[in-house]
Symmetry: C2
Subunit: 99 residues, 2 copies
């Protein structure tokens, strides 16, 4: 199991709300920046600004995603590096689902 | 149990994402507008614009809330009417938690 996103990249992921059901992270990733490998449970991502990211799974698979501003997206549990491949800051919220 | 928000006020709440873990609603409520009584499970609200709302619980309790833009807020399961008491449209997302 990969390490917690907040431990691996505290400059990128900040906990803004947490209880027994959810943990909500504010994410900020500069253009061109890339995190080390970290894990997330299943989550709903809502970006405040449009962003482009590349996720590289530990198994080797790479996914390029466009995240439009203000359009919620569900992402299943994963373990990956995150890279901002756009030319503007990635800024948004990740609603991580506990169970 | 109150009726589902989407059934009671389909002009206000639209389902933009749903699976077995979450249902995400886009909410738009005009200034001064008020919904009929409806229910929500526990949810995380993220407003895209700052908004002011008054929730009136079925039991009679009234809550006035300021919802700052882009600041996630957890709301426990409830049954209420929602009124936009601000002077701008309420616009944001409700991440309803199943289970």
């Amino acid at each position: 199991m990969a390490e917690d996103a907040v431990k691996v990249a505290p400059e990128v992921y900040k906990v803004v709300l947490e209880n027994d059901q959810v943990r909500v992270l504010e994410a900020r990733l500069a253009p061109g920046a890339k995190t080390d490998v970290h894990g997330h449970p299943a989550l709903v991502a809502i970006m405040l600004e449009s962003a482009k990211v590349r996720f590289s799974e530990s198994g080797g698979e790479t996914t390029e995603l466009e995240l439009p501003a203000g359009q919620p997206m569900y992402l299943p549990a994963t373990e990956h590096t995150s890279e901002n491949t756009g030319d503007s800051e990635l800024h948004g919220y990740l609603v991580e689902l506990k169970r």
